[in-house]
């Protein structure tokens, strides 16, 4: 089973990288952009085949290491 994890900055946390990307898109002539936020994406290949167990395992991974819960949120999908 594969876990797909998206880590995003919590709303309100300043994202200077997103701002820089927003500026660069603007200078390339892309209009109508209200905002850009940059995040991270992880794929974890799991030996576990039980979905419930996998979810518990991956949540613990996210909270212990993959996301910094002070500033980030995470979302998990399985395939």
């Amino acid at each position: 089973m594969k876990a797909h994890i998206k880590v995003t900055l919590k709303p309100g946390v300043l994202d200077p990288q997103g701002k820089a990307i927003e500026g660069a898109l603007g200078s390339l002539g892309f209009g109508g952009i209200n905002g850009v936020r940059q995040g991270k994406y992880f794929e974890i290949d799991l030996a576990e085949s039980d979905r419930v167990k996998a979810e518990t395992q991956v949540k613990a991974m996210c909270e212990k290491l993959i996301a910094n819960m002070i500033i980030e949120n995470y979302a998990i999908e399985f395939t």
Partner: protein, 220 residues
């Protein structure tokens, strides 16, 4: 004053730090490798600067979860003194020893220059030879030193005098909230700061403004 400097892969300021500690305390610090599971018998642990694990994932995130940090965390509860400088500050915040996060510099640039610091609290084991409000020069070298925390934590830090150093005279190099350059934990035994005091202690460094910080260790 017995001390140890923890070494992670990618750390590069451990020699400067060990030298500054040795000069001030007269005792050569232990260098402790990150895979060790217990600290030697010491009064102070310093987590030095550098780029542990190439800053992968988040600065300090991987080092903060290495085996030696469990023992550091356990001994902090018993009063062990800890100082984290630069990447060391990022590592000990990621380890949960200090509140907040060090984010990418607001200007998105790595800054390597001298800044001015205001000593805001001289009642700690690292600042007791300074005077409150004193302005000192100190170098910084980091890309992610933009200190942020939630409003409640910020109020507590300010209200309890736990902002130890503040960038002074408009020299904030990274956009940190309230110009915060260094903080101390509630119990007073864990200090984190972005600037590099170990690089302003000898005549060859140009100035010796930070020497009293290291001398404070003996009085503590």
């Amino acid at each position: 004053m017995k001390s140890a400097v923890i070494l992670f892969p990618g750390i590069n300021r451990e020699t400067d730090m060990a030298k500054a500690l040795h000069a001030a305390t007269g005792v050569k610090p232990h260098i402790v490798w990150h895979t060790d599971t217990s600290l030697p018998d010491v009064d102070l642990v310093v987590v030095p600067g550098g780029f542990s694990y190439g800053d992968y994932l988040r600065c300090g995130a991987i080092a903060a979860r290495s085996p030696i940090m469990s023992d550091v965390r356990a001994k902090v509860l018993k009063g062990l003194k800890v100082i984290g400088v630069c990447n060391g500050f990022q590592i000990i915040t990621e380890a949960g020893l200090l509140p907040g996060v060090l984010m990418r510099n607001a200007q998105l640039r790595f800054v390597c220059r001298e800044v001015k610091l205001k000593v805001e609290n001289n009642r700690t084991f690292f600042t007791n030879k300074m005077t409150e409000g004193q302005i000192i020069h100190c170098p910084v070298a980091h890309g992610e030193g933009n200190y942020i925390c939630d409003a409640e934590t910020l109020n507590r830090l300010e209200g309890e005098g736990r902002v130890l150093f503040r960038y002074a005279d408009g020299s904030n190099p990274n956009g940190a909230m309230n110009d915060i350059a260094g903080i101390v934990n509630e119990a007073g035994n864990v200090i984190g700061m972005m600037p590099h005091p170990e690089n302003m202690v000898e005549a060859l460094h140009g100035r010796t403004d930070c020497k009293p910080l290291f001398e404070s260790l003996l009085a503590a």
